[in-house]
Subunit: 187 residues, 2 copies
């Protein structure tokens, strides 16, 4: 049984890499050179027809999977014991979609940022003030996805004032001092 | 066992509504009036702390769920027989994330539309020329999510020339002539 994770520097491969490191999931890493257009080579288009990174191949069942969030969810469900019932699985999927869709669009769609961003931050800050983890009582793929997105804030918006959201600030501090995260992000 | 779907006109509730109609899943529909700010009432914030629509409540296990994609996935996994193994589940999750994240961002982030949109459309057109359905041999939550997003194209971009993507055009025709879709979208 072997997992292959296809990624490259500055791609969203960092999210499943961080998750796998935290959960002790081993895999073979395949570096796909975007500059050399290796992502458009026929052999890679068989793994992901869109030629985007990351992707995952699981030799145990022949699965080839793209979308960083789907990879995270697959690892969570099949290579950890954090999913115990359909409700937990659904809640983890909810937060992964929240991160990769709602939060991503709020951060990167200019017309949305002003309106959506403060509302999302205020609610997230409130939730994290009551509970250390988003689903259950341990760090799951839900936290990985949301923490990784929030971790982009100081990178993409270094001048953004987050002082109204102290829980997010301290969460970002924990993320950025995490050894696996630092290594994967090259910090 | 009762499902409650919270939605409103012109929200992404249309996606799970369409899916439930196609699959014969029954639920109680709760209309949340955004103009009257019912979505910010404490009773609704208990269902979705972000006050966004849609959301789902499942009385059988107490689950409260937001994110249209997570709702779709939950219905697919628990109220239909389309998910038969972890690989199918992962592939459906991949396409839901593709629709709600990659495709949404390509459509609605102006800087991405020019670069990403033609690439995604060309690949989708190619995939649909080879296979009628995205996962397995029947219409699943994967098709629902992708078809619903592609169905936005003539609405948000009525002048977009899609003639280079005949499979997408005929797919959109099928979507827009689907009786359940027409009723839910008010066409």
């Amino acid at each position: 049984m072997t997992l292959y994770l296809y990624g490259g520097p500055k791609t969203r491969a960092s999210m499943p890499k961080w998750y796998a490191a935290e959960k002790g999931i081993s895999y073979n890493y395949v570096n796909v050179d975007l500059a050399a257009r290796q992502n458009l080579a026929p052999s890679y288009l068989e793994v992901n027809p869109f030629g985007k990174l990351p992707a995952l191949k699981d030799d145990s069942n022949g699965l080839m999977l793209f979308e960083s969030g789907a990879i995270l969810q697959y690892l969570s469900e099949n290579y950890t014991n954090e999913v115990k019932d359909p409700a937990t699985r659904a809640s983890i999927s909810q937060w992964i979609l929240f991160a990769n869709s709602t939060l991503a669009i709020a951060l990167f769609v200019p017309s949305n940022k002003e309106r959506e961003f403060p509302r999302l931050m205020a609610t997230l800050n409130d939730l994290y003030s009551k509970k250390k983890f988003l689903v259950g009582d341990c760090w799951t793929a839900a936290d990985c996805a949301v923490n990784a997105y929030l971790g982009y804030l100081p990178i993409f918006y270094p001048n953004e004032d987050l002082s109204a959201y102290p829980e997010i600030q301290s969460l970002n501090q924990r993320t950025r001092s995490n050894q696996n995260y630092r290594q994967i992000m090259g910090l």
